[in-house]
Each structure stands twice: as structure tokens, then as C-alpha cells.
């Protein structure tokens, strides 16, 4: 029987291939780190990993559990873009090397075929750059395939084929596992002949039952995802990391840091917003508000209605991120907390580092020490938050001595319950004579300008004595002149 005597041709002189792979890895790492740093930073913010049993149990509910768990662990380090790019380059490089080794073992002396090993890595690099879980699945796919080709005997191969399904189920999605098992079957056909091939029905049968058993014993897998479930993996458009672009990520990151001047001028957000890109328009107007220049520059923007100041009643990645910043800018920390919480629920784990970090800060602002402490304890169980936790604990201890907010039990200051100008004026009542109140009043006045509601505009102008006996900002002055001359 020839199956027991197979001798695979040795790969020799592959140095050039290795050099190419290393060069491509370096290129990929440097290129993506330079080109997409904020996307990596955002990926870290959206990820979540803590060293608890509960978290592992949660990961079991999202197949492939182990790969997702490893991906989440590694994505903690994505806050440093070069580390992130290096991790991804390493994964891609490993895929290229493993694929090359597999091709070498399959094609024997025809080494030129082995160059095909670059193809999966290149495709992954192009289409799945920001889908690290899929990169890891691909890596495990080739590890299994390579190890399979190393086993000379049919019995050994059969044993590995049988192990591939239960182990692989924790590492790969079922469709990828199916391809792996089919490829294994083809290799059996090639090296051990037709007679041995029927044995490969066993792994296929196991693959059929694996999702059913997993669903009953570990975590339910919806019927439609048991044997399919890879929609979205190859479509970069479905990932908001690719779809929304690096520039928006950068603006969001800078906004989180409060660097409004930078994003408005250095990043040309003002001119971009003025060109009418809806998302950027939102951020440009928010930056103007944060800088206190909204009342001057409102009419420079193509804004048509008050709802373009934020995304009222929308719950998606863009709107929740923005609405949180909107209310943070106004010092409405409860609502910023709410939006951060909602944002985390959009993530696959139902929690994410960025939201937890934000909620720690908002809890401290609101004097909710126990909540802040809870989140800090959780963050302390991750790998990269030691400094953050220490700093916030110090902040909290200091805040305990100073913050004494007189917060009412209930108040008619509902967020999203009223039209924006009314909401702003109602909220303003609870914020004393602070910059927050002025921003709220400005939003109310600007909303009335956009509505063309002259009466309300004049009333709001006098609200809380914000603009009494002061020189009016440019937009207000222009509008007031308009209504005085009857051109409203």
C-alpha cells in the first residue's frame, strides 16, 4: 500500500520566499500602522477582554470561542498602532509561511507552485485587515492543514481528521472547518487512494453533529449560523472599521481627547463640514460648540434643521458615539453614560474598553463612586489598564473630597423627550452659571434660528441673562437684523 510509504519532497532553498514574506510583513506593518493608527486605536476601544471565568463563558456563546477569546486578548494591545500592525503582520506572515509549507508538501518538487502560498495572505491582507478573528481562523486553518500533511500514516491522518472537528470547532467557523475537512479528504484521496476515502465520512458526520451538540451542551448557535454564518467575513463593507474610514476615527479620537482646535483647523473639519458631509458636519458643529464659537459661525455651515446638531433617537455605531460626545460637551454626564452604555452593547461582547473607561469618568463626575469602583475592578482584570486604574482611583479619592453635587431625585429635564431647544433650556436650569449652561442656551438659540422662530429666538436670547447687555455673536446679530428688517 503506497499510503504508508509516502515521502514528501523536502523543501529546499526557500530563502527567497521567506525574504519576500518578511519584507511584505514589514511593509504591511509599517503601512497599516502609519495609514490606519486610529482604526487600530478604535479597535482596541471596541474590544473587551478580562481574565475571568465569566468572560470565558460569555465567549463560549460566540463561536469560534477560543479564537475569539485569543483575538480579544490580543486586541487589548491595539492601543499602540505599531504593536497592532505587528500582530496582524505576524498573523499574515504565519499564514503565508504555513500555506507555503503546505503547498510544498503537496506539490512535491514543483516549488514554483509554493509561491501560491502568498495568495491567501495577500487576500487576507486586502480584505480582512481589520477582522483579526478571521485572520486567526485562517492561521489555525493552515496550522491544521500543515500538521495533517506531516502525518505519514493513514491511521494517524484519520485520528487527526477526527480530532479536527471537535478541536477546530473552538477555533474556526463551521464553513471554514468544512473546507478543511474536505481538503483533508482530498489529500487522503491523493495519497491513500479511493478505498480509504469513505472513512472521511466520519469527520463530515461529526461536523454535522458538532453544532447541534455544542448548542445543547455549551451555548446555543442559531440554526441559520450552524453551517453557514460567514456572511460578512469577506465583505469589507460590513465592517465599520473599513466603511467609516480612518479620518472619522481620527476625528472621534481627537474629540475624545477634547482637541477641538486640532480637528477643526488642522484636520480641516470646518471646511469638510461646510462641504456638507453629514457626519463631519455634526462633528464640525460640535467642535464649534466646544470652542464656544457656534453662535458666531453657525450660518457658515449648510445646516438646515436642529436635528443635525446630533442624532436624535438613533442607535448605531456613529450616532451613539456622537451623541455621547454631544452630551459630554454639555456636561450632561448621565446621558453621556447612557450613550456610552448603549455603544458598548453594539459590540460583539456587549461590553467594550472605551465605554468602560468613559463610564468610569462619568461616574466619578456624578459622584457614583461604587459604579466607578465596579468598572475599575473590571478593568483591572484586563492586561493594559493598570495605569488607568491607578490614575482614576487617585482622581476618585480626590473627587470624593470635593464633589458635592446637589442632584434632584427627579426633574423634568428628560433627554430626547422634547424638541432640542426646549430640552436644552430645561436642562440649563440645572447647570447654574457654568459654561455648560451657555452652550445649552446657544443650542436653543441656534435651533430657533434654524427654525426661523423669531419670537422664541428673542425669548431664548434673554434666557438666564446669557446675552443681556453683551455684544451678540455674529450669527445671532445677523438673524436679529434680519427679523428687525423683516427679512425673516
Amino acid at each position: 500500500m503506497k499510503s504508508e510509504k509516502i515521502v514528501y519532497s523536502k523543501s529546499s532553498n526557500c530563502k527567497f520566499y521567506y525574504v519576500v514574506v518578511v519584507a511584505l510583513m514589514l511593509f504591511f506593518a509599517i503601512f497599516t500602522a502609519m495609514k490606519f493608527p486610529y482604526t487600530y486605536i478604535t479597535m482596541e476601544g471596541d474590544s473587551f477582554w478580562i481574565s475571568t471565568w465569566d468572560f470565558w463563558l460569555l465567549k463560549l456563546t460566540i463561536t469560534p470561542a477560543l479564537t475569539n477569546w485569543i483575538a480579544d486578548y490580543l486586541m487589548q494591545f491595539y492601543r499602540w498602532p505599531f504593536v497592532a500592525a505587528s500582530i496582524e503582520a505576524l498573523a499574515l506572515g504565519s499564514v503565508a509561511l504555513l500555506a507555503h509549507a503546505v503547498f510544498l508538501r503537496i506539490t512535491g518538487s514543483k516549488r514554483h507552485f509554493a509561491w501560491l502560498g502568498l495568495l491567501p495572505a495577500i487576500l487576507l491582507g486586502f480584505y480582512c485587515t481589520f477582522n483579526f478573528s478571521f485572520l486567526l481562523q485562517s492561521f489555525f486553518f493552515f496550522v491544521f492543514l500543515y500538521v495533517f500533511t506531516l502525518i505519514p500514516s493513514f491511521k494517524g491522518k484519520l485520528l487527526m481528521g477526527l480530532l479536527t472537528v471537535p478541536i477546530g470547532f473552538f477555533l474556526m467557523h463551521t464553513p471554514i472547518l468544512l473546507i478543511l475537512v474536505i481538503l483533508q479528504a482530498l489529500l487522503i484521496l491523493k495519497y491513500h487512494g479511493v478505498k480509504k476515502s469513505p472513512y472521511w465520512l466520519l469527520p463530515l458526520i461529526m461536523l454535522y453533529f458538532a453544532p447541534i451538540i455544542y448548542s445543547q451542551q455549551l451555548a446555543f448557535i442559531p440554526f441559520e449560523k450552524r453551517y453557514a454564518g460567514w456572511s460578512g467575513y469577506f465583505d469589507p463593507l460590513t465592517s465599520h472599521y473599513t466603511r467609516d474610514g480612518e479620518n472619522l476615527k481620527k476625528i472621534i479620537c481627537l474629540a475624545n481627547e477634547g482637541r477641538w482646535e486640532d480637528i477643526l483647523y488642522r484636520e480641516h473639519l470646518r471646511s469638510l463640514g461646510q462641504r456638507g458631509n453629514i457626519t463631519l458636519l455634526h462633528y464640525a458643529l460640535l467642535a464649534e460648540s466646544a470652542l464656544g464659537t457656534l453662535p458666531d459661525n453657525l450660518l457658515d455651515y449648510p445646516i438646515r434643521e436642529e436635528n443635525q446638531f446630533l442624532y436624535p433617537h438613533e442607535r448605531n455605531y456613529i450616532s451613539l458615539q456622537f451623541n455621547r460626545l454631544f452630551y459630554l460637551n454639555l456636561g450632561v454626564f448621565d446621558e453621556a453614560f447612557h450613550q456610552a452604555q448603549e455603544y458598548s452593547l453594539q459590540m460583539v461582547n456587549g461590553d467594550c474598553f472605551s465605554s468602560l473607561r468613559q463610564m468610569v469618568d462619568y461616574s466619578i463626575e456624578e459622584g457614583e463612586w461604587e459604579v466607578a469602583d465596579k468598572y475599575l475592578r473590571i478593568l483591572a482584570k484586563s492586561s493594559c489598564h493598570k495605569k488607568f486604574v491607578e490614575e482614576r482611583r487617585e482622581t476618585m479619592e480626590a473627587a470624593k473630597k470635593t464633589i458635592k453635587k446637589d442632584i434632584p431625585l427627579r426633574a423634568d429635564n428628560f433627554v430626547g423627550g422634547y424638541p432640542l431647544p426646549i430640552e436644552m433650556l430645561r436642562l440649563a436650569r440645572y447647570y447654574g452659571d457654568t459654561p455648560y449652561r451657555k452652550k445649552m442656551v446657544d443650542y436653543a438659540i441656534c435651533s430657533y434660528i434654524l427654525r426661523g422662530d423669531a419670537n422664541s429666538f428673542l425669548i431664548a436670547l434673554n434666557a438666564f441673562n446669557t446675552y443681556t447687555e453683551k455684544e451678540l455673536p455674529r450669527a445671532y446679530k445677523t438673524y436679529k437684523e434680519k427679523i428687525t428688517t423683516g427679512n425673516n
Binding site: 447612557h338 461582547n349 431625585l409 426633574a411 428628560f414
Partner: protein, 525 residues
């Protein structure tokens, strides 16, 4: 001999018994061994051991660890007259003898040891880094027949590097047992969305938790408002919202989906309660909304724009409606049957302009006679008048002996879960007098309360720990007064603080709900 049989035979062997007896002797001698509890736990839980093949090797390893650790035993050198500050606070609480181990932590501690001793002199010696986890079987042996256990805690921390022995405290053991299983919903803490959520069941004699349904089974829709008939796990209902959702009813173990909305011409079922006969389920049908406060101690206001009361007759597959309780003149919510099934209690209020007039929304608790033969409702009787006594009274729950009504009292509004000021109150239905409940309340919210089947235990949720995340409390009612409540024990006490989910709709059940996950999911295909 099969593999599994081999393990069982091994566990029955004298070798295993010898190890177990040795450990018992060591504990009785109160030798402080850091890994003693680990090994004991291992030896005690046979069913877990049976899963291992090479038991002999494992015992050798455990023995080796045992010897290594025995050399490094620690004794606290200082003594304190203070009680230990443990979390959860189990000092002086009253627990049922079938409750799971009351594991606790000592915050900011490097090493902690606890000796738990019953009134027969039997002791359990456990230790850990910052918390102790007690072996389940040994704990139950200790509590069986005991009136109280004394817990002596020693802790090593930065302040006491050589260790300190705190003043012992007692845990009182009630004669009355508690229902062994509970069901509850876990979800993100009350905002708009969710990612993972589900209805779960937990064996509170140990730490086993299983899902009854998770939202991955119903197209990621919301699952809510579960209730059980007569505490039976074979008779329960819940709602599944979203795609292909509906009201799921299981009676005598048979499960099906009901479209209440179609049967009642537009009124879907929300909060529900089973009639003891298992023939009827009373629902309130609510148009529920929520608004978020911009700056307030209460974070959310949940309210109904309209709400009605309907009764689903399972036998006749029809929804019974009474015009008095389906018109727009009043809001009706949180129905609850008396244990004899003769009365239907619920909360009702005049509608106001919500959410602006939350302060003016006050629910009273009323009851109507319930005709078990026809499902018809009788004349209205006010039990708690919010207009006379003040506040908003919600979620009436009648004790199994029919004498007491436990309810949640807030200042105003329709949903006390988000009202910091909400407390549990109890009325003696024979006298109309209020019963003292201060001991089970806190400055923060308490709500979603239920009675155990023997009427001796009350379970409810509270936000006392951080103000945002609800946790489950249990309290003993001895027929005259409530005893100090205790937080539902977890294997690792930190789970109480670190779980990023909130509990609600807690229910006692006499056993686990047994349902195939696929069978459940098929209802939503």
C-alpha cells in the same frame, strides 16, 4: 469494566474513603491549610470527580500539594474585638439550611481564613487569597440540623501583615427550607438596548446556573416577564419580543406559542401571573415607554401611555376582557392572584401626561373577586389607596397563607425599579395594618419581590450596592418579623460586584425547567 464504571468503582474504594476521612480529621483539628478546602472540595464533589479518568494520579498530585502547603500553615498573631468587614455582609443573617455556601471576601486582603463551626462542634476550615469558597457538600453537612454557625475570620493584609483574628460572628439557620431553584432575567442594566440577555435558573443549594432561554434562541429579541404556576417548573410563561416572537406557555411540560395580541384585538401581554388552577393567566397589556433624565438621581422613568388588564383562558384559547379594565380612564398594571385564586390584585392609577407629570402618577393597589369557573372579575375593592396613604404602590404579591401583601412603594410613577426611593412594604390583609419591613430595605431601590412556596422566605432585587445594577436578596419571614436579609451567595463573591448585568423578575421554583434549547428556538423560526 467501562471507563465510567472504573471511576465510580474507584470513588467507592477504601482508598478514596481514607483520603476523605483524613481530611475530615485535619479539619476537625483546625489545621490551617491553604489548599485544604481545595482538596476537600475535590473529594466531596463526587459527581465532578467522576468526569476524570485518571483519578489516582490526581489524588497523588493533590496529596503532594497537601504536603507542600502543610509546611506553610499560617496563624494570625493579632486579635481584634471588631467584626470582620466581609462582603457580602453575612454577619447575623438568617439563612435556610439548604442554602449554598455563604462564600465571602475580605476586601484588600492578601490572605483570609475562615473557620465555620456549628453548634455540634463540627468545623469547616477554609482559606483563600481575598475570599473563601466553601465546599458545597461539607457546608450542607455543617448546616444540617444546626441552629447557628459561628464564623471566625482571620485576615492578612498590609495593615496586619502577621494576620488578625476578628471577633466571631454568627449565621442563624432557620428550620424552614427555601425552594431550591430560582429563575431570573439577566440583562444590561435598564437602558434601551441589549446584546446578550436571557432568563436563567439557578440551583441555590449550590452554584449551578443554566439558561432557560437566551436571546440567541429568539432572533436576539427581548425575553421578559416570566412567571410560574404554583412554583412549578413545568408550568411557566414568558414573552419573546421581536421577529417571530409571542407569548410562550408551558403547561404540564408541553410548550407552545400564543399570539395574545391577535386574540385580544391589539392588546399584547406584558406583566403576567398564573392562576393557581393553571387554567388562566392574567396579563397587564402595556404601552411601555422610557425617558432618560438629564440630571437626576433616578436615571430613567419607565411609564405606560396606556395599560389594561386581560385574562387568557388557556383551556378555551381565548382572552377575556372586562370593559372596566380595558378603557382609557385608568391604567392597570402588575396583576397578581391570591394563592387561593379567589382574588385578582393589581395596581391602578388615573393617567397623567407622562413623563412630564411623573410626580402626579400614583398607583393604588386594588383587588377584584375572580370566578374560577368563568374567569369573570367581580366588584372592585381598594386595598392600598395611594390617595389616602401616599406614594405609588406596585407589584402586590400575596403570601402563600393569604394573609400578607408585600408590595413595592415609591414616591410616584409606574416602575419602581428605577426609583431610588422605592422600598418594600407589607400589609396585613386581615387588619389593614402595615408590617415593619425596614430591615429588608436600604436607601436605594428594592423591588421585584416574591414569596417562597412555604411563605417563609422573600426574594427581591435591590440596587443597594451601587445604585445601577440590581442584585438578588433573600430574607427570612418567621411569621412575625423579617430577619436581616442576605445577598444571594455566589461561588466567587466578586461575581456580585463585577457582573455587568442586572437581575430582575426573580421567581422561586421547586426544580429546574427542563426544555431542549433547539425545541425552544424552533418556536421562533
Amino acid at each position: 469494566m467501562k471507563l465510567r464504571d472504573y471511576n465510580r468503582a474507584f470513588l467507592r474504594s477504601s482508598w478514596y474513603s481514607g483520603v476523605k476521612s483524613g481530611l475530615l480529621l485535619l479539619e476537625k483539628a483546625q489545621i490551617n491549610l491553604a489548599f485544604c478546602s481545595l482538596i476537600r472540595n475535590f473529594a466531596a464533589q463526587k459527581h465532578e470527580m467522576e468526569e476524570f479518568f485518571d483519578m489516582q494520579k490526581l489524588i497523588y498530585i493533590a496529596g503532594l500539594l497537601f504536603v507542600l502547603v502543610a509546611c506553610s500553615r499560617r496563624e494570625a498573631k493579632e486579635c481584634s474585638e471588631a467584626m470582620p468587614e466581609i462582603f457580602p455582609d453575612y454577619v447575623g443573617v438568617t439563612v435556610p439550611e439548604n442554602i449554598c455556601p455563604m462564600n465571602f471576601s475580605v476586601p484588600e486582603c492578601e490572605h483570609v481564613r475562615a473557620i465555620v463551626e456549628n453548634d455540634r462542634g463540627e468545623a469547616l476550615n477554609v482559606s483563600g487569597s481575598d475570599h473563601v469558597e466553601m465546599p458545597v457538600n461539607r457546608w450542607h453537612e455543617l448546616l444540617k440540623g444546626a441552629q447557628e454557625v459561628k464564623v471566625t475570620v482571620s485576615a492578612w493584609n498590609q495593615k496586619h501583615p502577621d494576620g488578625v483574628n476578628y471577633k466571631p460572628f454568627t449565621i442563624n439557620i432557620a428550620k424552614d427550607k427555601i425552594d431550591p431553584w430560582i429563575a431570573y432575567r439577566l440583562l444590561p442594566p435598564g437602558y434601551e438596548g441589549w446584546n446578550h440577555m436571557g432568563i436563567y435558573q439557578r440551583n441555590i443549594e449550590c452554584f449551578d446556573v443554566e439558561p432557560i432561554i437566551e436571546n440567541s434562541q429568539n432572533n436576539n429579541g427581548c425575553v421578559n416577564c416570566h412567571s410560574f404556576a404554583n412554583y412549578s417548573p413545568r408550568d411557566f410563561t414568558f414573552h419573546a419580543r421581536g421577529e417571530n416572537g409571542g407569548t410562550i406557555v408551558m403547561r404540564d411540560g408541553k410548550m407552545w406559542k400564543v399570539d395574545i395580541k391577535a386574540m385580544s384585538k391589539g392588546r399584547h401581554g406584558s406583566y403576567n401571573i398564573w392562576h393557581p388552577s393553571k387554567r388562566y393567566i392574567a396579563f397587564s397589556s402595556n404601552s411601555t415607554h422610557q425617558s432618560f433624565y438629564g440630571e437626576s438621581k433616578n436615571k430613567i422613568e419607565v411609564y405606560d401611555l396606556w395599560s389594561d388588564l386581560i385574562v387568557y383562558d388557556i383551556d378555551n384559547e381565548e382572552v377575556l376582557q372586562d370593559e372596566r379594565f380595558t378603557d382609557s380612564l385608568n391604567l392597570e398594571i402588575f396583576p397578581s392572584f391570591s394563592p387561593d385564586g379567589k382574588w385578582l390584585y393589581f395596581s391602578t392609577a388615573h393617567p397623567v401626561n407622562m413623563p412630564m407629570e411623573t410626580d402626579k402618577l400614583h398607583y393604588s393597589i386594588v383587588r377584584v373577586p375572580f370566578d374560577t369557573e368563568t374567569g369573570k372579575l367581580g366588584a372592585l375593592d381598594t386595598v392600598y389607596s395611594a390617595y389616602e396613604r401616599g406614594g405609588t404602590a406596585l407589584m402586590p404579591r400575596i403570601s402563600p397563607d393569604g394573609r400578607y401583601m408585600l408590595f413595592s412603594l415609591g414616591e410616584c410613577g409606574a416602575f419602581n425599579l428605577y426609583h431610588t426611593e422605592s422600598d418594600l412594604k407589607m400589609m396585613d390583609l386581615d387588619t389593614g395594618e402595615m408590617v415593619e419591613t425596614d430591615i429588608i430595605n436600604s436607601p436605594r431601590m428594592e423591588s421585584f419581590h416574591v414569596w417562597s412556596s412555604n411563605g417563609r422566605w422573600v426574594m427581591y432585587v435591590t440596587k443597594r450596592f451601587d445604585g445601577r445594577y440590581t442584585r438578588v436578596m433573600l430574607a427570612y419571614w418567621d411569621g412575625k418579623r423579617f430577619h436581616k436579609p442576605f445577598l444571594l451567595p455566589q461561588k466567587d463573591p466578586e461575581d456580585n460586584t463585577q457582573l455587568l448585568m442586572a437581575y430582575n423578575v426573580v421567581e422561586f421554583i421547586t426544580g429546574p425547567v427542563i426544555v431542549s434549547r433547539d425545541e425552544m428556538a424552533k418556536l421562533f423560526k
